[in-house]
Structures are given as structure tokens and as C-alpha cells.
């Protein structure tokens, strides 16, 4: 992942279609086309795992069923704790089969409909619930030396709490970090960089004009109707965080995708 930063490769988030979609074929086609464009463009496709607790199809099953072709180092799979052990092992083994090495390991959002790993499933002791920390340890144990494991950092949550979790995540085997969306600059992200100077950090750029959606996702208060230019923000992020990677969330494939070619200089 440090490589993605050195080589100025954007992380582009793609969401698989939700399971309750009434237009599955169209959704599958759209995913396949986005994936292909990201591969061609030389970027890294980051595929989400039941984002927001909404039942969706898995990245690895999408790639396999649709016969998509992941290029080396250009795919990152999100992986959360809301799986059965069988499904978890299947996803990890599919990743290996497909040559995918980058995983973003998160606790994730649950729902009524999703199963959850129990501590005994992954031989985790001393905890009541499985979090990303225990999942990191499991993956390292079962697949030593194969995966590069990243974790999330949320500058909008109380600092002390986030840093304490970060220490544990790093101890459990995380080697890179992706932050929640940053607007311009965030002092807690600055502190993260200062605290861990050798840790590859990628900041998330919110590419949708609708900032209110961001406030719902992270609880970051933004007054209604504030004008927001995603590309201006992207430029600011590059300027403020020259040693960080950038993760593009909600990138519009019709109007914005072609524009990111020259934005990371």
C-alpha cells in the first residue's frame, strides 16, 4: 500500500449492488464497467462489504461470477466482522485465488439480517465481541505473510478512544490506515501523522457535492446548503497531505472519473 502512495495511485471505492435491488442485471453491468475502468485507469478498486449494514453482494463473488479480471495490486477488499466463519474463510480463500492481497479490515455495520463472528469462531479470548482487532489477528494467523492489512481511523470520534484503538490495531498487524472523509484538513489526522510517522496513511476524499450525506455518515455537522466543490477539496487534500494516499468515495463515474487523471501530481 505504501506503493500506492509512492506511485500516486488513487483508491476508488466501488459498491456492489444491494441484495434488495430490483434491477440486478443493470447493477451488475454497472459494477463490471466501473471495475474495468478502474483497472484500465491504473487505479486501485476498493470494494465495500455490506456498507452501512445493507445486505449487498460480496466483492469476491462479484469478481468470480462476472468473470472480472483483477490486476495485481489494483484491488482492495473491505472485510468486516459480520460474517459466518465459513463465509469469512471463503472470502479469504477467494482473495488468494484471485491474487488479491490488500484488505481493509473493519468492525463494520451490522443489521438484523447479518450474521456476526463470535469470539470462539476465530479463537479470540478475553473479549465479549469480535472487533477489527480480533479479525486482524485471525487473518494473520491463518494466512501468514499473504495479506496486507489496513484499518480505518475516524477523526470525528473522541480522540483518546480512536488513538487507543489504533495502537491495538497496529499491534494486531495493521500496516496501513484509511481515514474517514476529510474536508480540507483535520487536526486529528495531523496528529495521527505526527504520532505514527512511518505509517502509510490514506485520507478519504468525499467526491459527492452532497455534503449532507457525509454528515449523516460520520455525524459531522455541516450547515444545510453549504456549497462544496469536491475537486477543490481534493486539491486541498493533496496540498495539505502530500505524503498521504487518497481514497475517493462516491466518485461519479459519468462526470468525474475522467477528471482524476491529472489531479495527483
Amino acid at each position: 500500500m505504501g506503493r500506492h502512495i509512492e506511485q500516486k495511485i488513487y483508491h476508488v471505492e466501488i459498491l456492489p449492488p444491494k441484495q434488495d435491488t430490483e434491477k440486478l442485471d443493470a447493477g451488475l453491468e454497472l459494477f463490471a464497467s466501473k471495475f474495468a475502468r478502474v483497472m484500465e485507469g491504473g487505479y486501485c478498486a476498493c470494494i465495500t462489504d455490506n456498507a452501512m449494514g445493507n445486505l449487498a453482494f460480496q466483492g469476491t463473488e462479484m469478481i468470480k461470477e462476472l468473470g472480472l479480471e483483477p490486476r495485481e495490486n489494483q484491488v482492495m477488499i473491505h472485510l468486516n466482522t459480520f460474517h459466518t466463519k465459513t463465509d469469512l474463510d471463503q472470502i479469504l480463500s477467494d482473495c488468494r485465488e484471485l491474487g488479491i492481497r490488500d484488505l481493509l479490515v473493519i468492525s463494520g455495520d451490522g443489521s438484523d439480517r447479518l450474521p456476526r463472528l463470535a469470539p470462539k469462531d476465530i479463537d479470540a479470548t478475553g473479549v465479549e465481541a469480535v472487533t477489527s482487532v480480533e479479525l486482524l489477528r485471525y487473518i494473520r494467523r491463518e494466512h501468514p505473510g499473504w495479506f496486507k492489512l489496513g484499518v480505518a481511523f475516524n477523526p470525528y470520534e473522541p480522540e483518546e478512544h480512536e488513538f487507543e484503538k489504533m495502537h491495538r490495531k497496529l499491534a494486531a498487524g495493521a500496516t496501513f490506515v484509511i481515514t474517514q472523509p476529510v474536508i480540507g484538513r483535520h487536526p486529528v489526522v495531523d496528529k495521527l501523522l505526527a504520532t505514527f510517522p512511518d505509517l502509510p496513511v490514506t485520507v478519504e476524499a468525499w467526491m459527492s457535492k452532497k455534503l449532507e450525506l457525509l454528515s449523516e455518515a460520520v455525524g459531522y455537522e455541516i450547515p444545510q446548503g453549504t456549497p462544496y466543490d469536491p475537486f477543490a477539496n481534493l486539491a486541498e487534500l493533496h496540498a495539505n497531505y502530500p505524503d498521504c494516499g487518497v481514497y475517493l468515495a462516491l466518485l461519479g463515474f459519468k462526470t468525474q472519473f475522467d477528471l482524476i487523471k491529472g489531479t495527483w501530481k
Binding site: 451490522g110 438484523d112 456476526r116 463470535a118 465481541a129 472487533t131 470520534e157 478512544h161
Partner: protein, 338 residues
Amino acid sequence: MIANTGALRGEYKNVWVVAEFLDGEVQKVTFELLGAARFLADARKSELWCVVLGDGASRAAKSLIAGGADVALVVDDPRLAKFVDENEAAALVRLIEAYKPEIVVCGATTRGRALIPRVAVTANCGLTADCTGLSIDPENGDLLQTRPAFGGNIMATIRCSNHRPQMATVRPRVMNALPPDASRKGRVVVEQLLPGDISTRKRVLEVFHDSENAVNLADARFIVSGGRGLKGPEGFALLKRLADALGGAVGASRAAVDSGWISYSHQVGQTGQTVQSTVYVACGISGQIQHLVGMQSCDYIIAIDKSPDTPMMQLADLAVVGDLYEVIPEMLRELAAT
């Protein structure tokens, strides 16, 4: 469907409460229903009957009359010792067809909600489930039944104009029992269980009473819930002591579960469970909307937090500014003191 039109309607009279009789005892919900049904019977200028089916049911007659019934209709039979819905339903349908009550209500317990729909379908009547309000329409004497739907997000009022009896199951712990009056006069009507009532296709093998583990979030009356303000998993041991003292369950916010302090089965909120308890004590939970969505239907919300201005403190009916690690032990002392 055969509607009981005007002339036939006149044949239906009196309000019935179907008692919940377990292990020789009338359950509390029955007395709550007698309290509510008393008003209905008075409004209809008719009698209030309480129907009790069970092994040893005749012993209950006195307390039912003291609880407000004018008549105790008793079916006392050892074959009714265990809950076989089909048998009780068959007997009730037969009794309803014989006596023609105008209104029949029962507690919306697991047994009530298994039994009464079966009765309503067989007797060709309308049934409203889990009511929280019952009243008589002054214009035409119909029973008006109010109940929550959509997980408590709307209140619906239902009427059954053309079929008799009008039936309803009523949520426990909502209505109020009358103070028992041993001097109340009433009579007892004795009926038998008939061979035709007994189903040969179901047998109860074993019954297990377990009031310890049975408390789960969805049915809990009290929930004591913890969030990030607990600062660590030990806080949940303290919350459990309070929950036990109140006879309730322990809940948690997503932040607490995500930190591995407690298992996901306790999580309340958008990505956890939705609860509708009578009391929700939020300890160190700031109240992000994703959490509030899961508990805002609780009747009485108490929040304990060091910070006075969180969304949870603003939503709470009782907002307590304090350190939960000090306040809760004091609460335990107060509760034990009586």
C-alpha cells in the same frame, strides 16, 4: 363472510375476559384486563364475565369476582393443565357460540396470541392484536381498539362493525387492575370440557420455567444500556447489577460493542435491535441518531451522563448529570433499602 347484521347483533351481550391461568394461578394480566373491561361493561350496561380454563380453575372464581367480574365462567379439568391451544380454542369457540358475548378480550401474551387468533377465525370474528387502548364508541356502542403498528411509529384505531363478538388481545402492563374487593357479589357458571374439544394431534411433553435467562431485550421491561461513557467493559458488570435489581436486561450502544466490551446481541440501534421497553436507562450514551432510532419508543427514558447537553440528555424524560459509576451504586443502595 357472514356478517352479524343488526337484528343478530342484539343477541350478543356482555363483555368477556379470557383469563390466563398457569400452574394454578391467575396471571396479573387478567386482573389488568378485568380493570379495563369493567369500564367497557359499564358503558354497555352489561355484565363482565371472566372465562377461566384450567386444572383447578374453580379455585380462581373468587379472586376474579373480587377483581371486577360479575360472573366467573369456569371450565375446570385436569386435561387443561398444560397449554394445548387447540383444546382451549375449541372449548372457547363452543362457549362463545352458546353464550354470545359481545366483546371478548385476552392478554396479548405468548399463549393469548397463540390461542385467540385461532378462536377468532373459527368463530368468524374480527380480532385486533396487542391493543394498548379500548373504549366504547358512544354513537353506536362499537368497541374501539387502539394499537401500535410499524414498530410503534403509528397508532391505529380499529373497529369491527359487522361481526360479533368483537375480539382483542391486550398488551400486558398497560391497563390497570381494580383494587380487589372481596365483598363484590358475583356468580359462578360451571362448564365442562367436552370430548370434541380435545385434539389428538398435539401433546405437551415438558414445561420449563426459567425467569432468569428469559429476559431478552425485545421483551424486557427495563433496559439498562451502556455506551462509550463506560470507558471499559467493567462498566457492564455494574449495569448488569442494576438490570438484575430492576428485573431487566442490559443493552449497549454500537460504540461499546465495537470496542469489544459486550457482545453484539446487546446492541440497540439502527444496526442492532429496536426495543420498546417501559424504562430505558442510558448510561454514558451520547445519543447519535442511529442509536435513538432503536430506543425512542421506550416509555420512560432516563439518561445518566457527565455532560448535560448530549442528544440523549435532551431526549430523556429524566436527565441526570453525574458520574454513572457513582450514581448507579447509590441507586442499588436505594432500591435495596426498601
